[in-house]
């Protein structure tokens, strides 16, 4: 069978838990071989979407195909083509790392010899070979996550679901997990990633769907989403509260949009259109006016700002 162009296709997914509408018609298309980020606040429906796409839950309405198979009618075929890394490291803590991988390999029906070979390969690849015999309960959080990833990769599945894979990890462990994910994608795996860390989506994902209240409210590459907030911003930090008004007026002259003044932090920010020209002009004007500047620079909006902007708007419109 030819590889489908989209590894994940969801159309109008609906799911209700009691009075809560977890998914209210979610549409999603993830091109094969890419990392796609599913961003949203707590309770937006990210985990429900992943549970449906991984056959753990049945949708009330809508359809979804993963790796070319319907998640309800062909659940078993889907299960043979996916891996899931959930919010908990779903591994056996009493057994050793190698024992875990061999057990899961056998449950994937690899047969005893191939399961053992595959376990050794994965332990090597996820840098767990030294701890292969140790009980997983003694692993660090990052090691446990890597073992969890390894277990999800036993079949080298075409589609991998990662539900907040770095929640609760320290920065070092987070980097380890990111490296592992990048290596998987280099090998051709499609990854659907849910996360609350916008930095994580920014670093890993080619495409992002922002979801809120069970629907997609914005979609695009991280850059496209950032542009929706008006491109680059100029940021000025001051030492002297007395010069705040004068500085804000000068920044307003070079800005392409409204000026944000944070009187407490003595910071002024505004969107600008011409990068270098705006910066040069602002520096010169501030200098001419005798305003002492502690720091001045250009920066792109963070995904956090995009995210807050989008979800705020949602709040207002409903």
């Amino acid at each position: 069978m030819a590889e489908p162009r989209f590894a994940v296709v969801a159309e109008g997914l609906r799911k209700r838990y009691g009075d809560t509408e977890a998914l209210a018609g979610l549409d999603l298309r993830v091109p094969a071989g890419t990392v796609h980020g599913l961003l949203g606040p707590n309770g937006a429906g990210k985990t429900t979407a992943v549970r449906i796409l991984t056959t753990l839950a049945r949708p009330d309405g809508g359809t979804a195909r993963v790796a070319g198979h319907d998640v309800v009618r062909e659940a078993r075929a889907v299960r043979g083509r996916i891996g899931l890394v959930g919010q908990h490291a779903a591994v056996d803590e009493i057994l050793g790392g190698r024992q875990n991988l061999v057990m899961f390999g056998r449950l994937y029906h690899l047969g005893a010899a191939r399961a053992r070979r595959r376990a050794d390969e994965l332990l090597e690849r996820f840098r767990l070979a030294d701890a292969a015999g140790k009980a997983v309960g003694e692993y660090s959080g990052g090691m446990r996550r890597r073992l969890d990833l390894a277990a999800s990769m036993i079949l080298a599945p075409p589609v991998l679901f990662l539900d907040e894979p770095t929640t609760g990890l320290d920065p070092r462990a987070r980097n380890e997990v990111w490296d592992a994910i990048r290596a998987l994608v280099d090998g051709g795996t499609t990854v659907l990633l849910t996360t609350q860390y916008l930095e994580e989506a920014d670093r890993l994902a080619a495409g992002i769907s922002v979801i809120d209240r069970g629907r997609v409210i914005a979609e695009g590459t991280p850059d496209q989403l950032k542009k929706r907030l008006g491109g680059d911003r100029i940021e000025v930090a001051l030492d002297d509260p007395g010069s705040l008004t004068a500085a804000a007026e000068i920044v307003g002259r070079v800005a392409s949009g409204g000026v944000d003044v944070d009187a407490e932090a003595l910071r002024i920010g505004a969107p600008v259109s011409g990068r270098a020209a705006a910066l040069t002009e602002a520096v010169r004007a501030l200098d001419d006016a005798g305003v002492k500047v502690a720091d001045i620079g250009l920066r792109r909006p963070t995904l956090d700002e995009v995210f807050l902007h989008l979800t705020d708007k949602e709040e207002v419109s409903s």
Binding site: T55, R58, A77, G86, G96, L107
Partner: protein, 279 residues
């Protein structure tokens, strides 16, 4: 899951069902192996589990035993050994519960459910491991019983029938353990299960003859499923049997009927609960 069933039905039919059965057995065996590996990694915990009933029997037999008169005659220590066999089976349900609830809470159950493995293996693997553990528990308790003066009087065939009834009770309790494990929030709730198991276990003929209890309590104790198995074992081992109720006089029958009733209630509940995880 109906989705899984439909997925399986989509494969070529005749070879399909045989293949499905083959994988159900293989996957169940893999999970039994997992449970056995747990014991190899936690020998201390296993030894504690096996020796705890021994401690109870020694405490009851030597600490309280001097004051106990067994209706129908015979030593109190020999009287409580069949009772302890049955209590060992009842305590075993806590093991089933803890493992099932632990897998569900840690997300291991969810991982199994996203894998193309046989869904029934989760239970059959657990059941086989628990039965192995129960046989070991009975062997330890029987050894202890022989040391403190308990004997089989009516031959090996009847004795084996008695052990068969004990294992039947344990098998029915697997389903109760699976159901409670899937309903519970996590393995910590085992305390609640103990609060259920202990009174039910002790309010029986296991350690005290119901005829010595207040009337209403004695009646409850005589009809307790635990008592059915205990009394049937005493009968099959050739120990004196006390109690005049219908239940006590037909203990072997009741020791078959009660576990079947328990399994008939909790097996469908467990299956339903497992499927409900996909809602």
């Amino acid at each position: 899951m109906s989705g899984a069933n439909q997925g399986a039905a989509a494969s070529p039919q005749a070879a399909g069902s045989l293949q499905t059965l083959r994988w159900a057995v293989a996957d169940g065996w893999t999970l039994t192996g997992r449970a056995l590996a747990h014991w190899a990694r936690q020998p201390g915990q296993i030894a504690m589990g096996l020796l705890f009933p021994v401690m109870v029997v020694l405490m009851m037999g030597y600490l309280f035993g001097g004051q106990m008169d067994v209706p129908g005659g015979g030593s109190y220590r020999a009287f409580i050994v069949p009772g302890m066999f049955a209590l060992t089976m009842a305590f075993g349900m806590e093991e089933t519960f803890v493992r099932v609830a632990g897998d569900a809470a840690k997300g291991v159950t969810d991982r199994f459910r996203t894998m193309p493995m046989s869904p029934s293996a989760v239970v059959t693997g657990r059941a086989a491991a628990d039965m192995v553990y129960s046989v070991a528990g009975l062997a330890v308790m029987a050894g202890c019983g022989v040391l403190i003066g308990w004997r089989v009087h009516d031959g090996a065939a009847k004795a084996l029938a008695g052990f068969g009834l004990l294992l039947l009770l344990r098998f029915s309790l697997i389903w109760m353990g699976v159901y409670l494990g899937l309903v519970a929030k996590g393995p910590e709730s085992v305390v609640a299960v103990q609060i259920l198991v202990w009174p039910v276990g002790f309010m029986s003929s296991a350690l005290v003859a119901p005829s010595t209890m207040p009337g209403w309590l004695g009646a409850v104790a005589e009809w307790n499923p635990m008592s059915a198995t205990v009394t049937a074992c005493r009968e099959l081992f050739g120990d004196p049997v006390a109690g005049g109720s219908w239940a006590a006089q037909h203990s072997v029958l009741m020791a078959v009927v009660w576990p079947l009733v328990i399994a008939a209630v909790f097996a469908p509940l467990s299956v339903r609960r497992y499927r409900a995880l996909g809602r």
